[in-house]
């Protein structure tokens, strides 16, 4: 199975909106060699880099308190935070979003996809 880190290569190379000399722009044929088969949707390359669910989204999130989270979150560590309509605050560390990409969650009765 292709490791997750295979995503680092195409993500690092596919620079947003870059045109013009001096900027790194990946030609489709090169993207193909790097990451396998490709086709286009709406004129833009769809690059297949991993099998479906090669990165597992979280479907049954569990949580700890802020105090418990102190054991594994550093003060300057990146988190994505959200507040529900009833005031429930929830944080997802960038480390975990990197590993799972998507968390299918429910916050104060609203179904949300925590992703970045």
């Amino acid at each position: 199975m292709i490791p997750h880190h295979a995503l680092l290569v195409p993500l690092a190379l596919l620079v947003p909106g870059c045109r013009g000399d001096g900027h790194e722009e990946v030609e489709p044929s090169r993207a193909e060699r790097l990451a396998g088969p490709w086709r286009q949707i709406e004129g833009e390359d769809l690059v297949e880099v991993l099998p479906r669910d090669g990165i597992p989204a979280i479907d049954d999130p569990t949580y700890v308190s802020a105090q418990e989270a102190e054991a594994f979150l550093a003060p300057d560590e990146a988190v994505l935070g959200v507040v529900g309509k009833n005031g429930t605050a929830r944080a997802y560390s960038a480390w975990q979003l990197d590993r799972h990409e998507i968390v299918n969650d429910d916050l104060d009765g609203e179904p949300i996809a925590a992703t970045w």
């Binding site: 995503l7 680092l8 195409p10 993500l11 690092a12 596919l14 947003p16 013009g20 900027h23 790194e24 990451a35 949707i41 833009e44 390359d45 769809l46 690059v47 297949e48 880099v49 991993l50 479906r52 669910d53 090669g54 990165i55 597992p56 989204a57 979280i58 999130p61 569990t62 949580y63 700890v64 308190s65 802020a66 989270a69 594994f72 979150l73 550093a74 003060p75 300057d76 560590e77 990146a78 988190v79 994505l80 935070g81 959200v82 605050a89 944080a91 560390s93 960038a94 480390w95 975990q96 990409e101 998507i102 968390v103 299918n104 609203e110 179904p111 949300i112 996809a113 992703t115 970045w116």
Partner: protein
């Protein structure tokens, strides 16, 4: 962050979708798929690009990308996602593995701090000096025209050219008279730069 509710044309709830990672990239950005129909959705703006739901947009849910200490200060009762299976061992060494993981994403606040101004899709200009990666937000370098910082014993200046919207980098020794050497500058989304350069520092306004 998106709502998983999909509305019908009359505004009533049509269905709730569950999302997975398709394994594809489109526009260099992750493509999600919903398990109900298999439609593809771009993580870029929550729009379905192919399948039964093509053209449908997921509603944005307001979220904040910040540091743990700032979020905790603002929301002391916050819950934090934790999945036991992400631990690599048993016992207290589990937490040590978090700190040792090179993929952890740190935000190094220089100057006045981040607030909510840096997100995963913030455009940055990145350089590598010695063993340290630095990123400067486009907003900062475009506003100031040039940004200078010290790195690995050198002074690095990023110059913004408003006509071409390109950034060039020059590194010169501190206190030296030399013209400096050209350094490579890469333009990228912050999340892509930080993933390929774990521990990269970032400067913003």
């Amino acid at each position: 962050m998106y709502s998983r509710n999909v509305e019908a044309d009359d505004g009533t709830l049509r269905t709730v979708l569950d999302f997975g990672v398709s394994g594809n990239l489109w526009h260099g950005v992750l493509v999600m798929y919903d398990r109900q129909s298999g439609s593809f959705w771009t993580q870029l703006d929550g729009r379905s690009i192919e399948g039964d739901y093509a053209g449908t947009r997921l509603e944005h849910v307001a979220s904040t990308f910040t540091t743990w200490e700032r979020w905790k200060a603002a929301h002391p009762d916050t819950e934090v996602l934790f999945k036991p299976e992400d631990e690599r061992g048993q016992g207290e060494s589990n937490y040590a593995s978090y700190f040792a993981d090179p993929d952890r994403l740190f935000l190094d606040r220089l100057g006045e701090g981040l607030g909510g101004s840096v997100g995963p899709k913030t455009t940055v200009h990145g350089v590598v000096i010695g063993e340290t990666a630095w990123a400067v937000t486009e907003e900062l370098v475009a506003a100031d025209g040039a940004v200078t910082f010290g790195a690995a014993g050198e002074l690095v200046t990023l110059h913004y050219d408003p006509d071409t919207e390109r950034v060039r980098g020059v590194a010169r020794s501190r206190g030296g008279d030399d013209q400096g050497r050209s350094v490579r500058v890469d333009r990228a989304f912050w999340y892509a730069w930080s993933r390929s350069h774990p521990g990269s520092r970032i400067m913003t306004r």
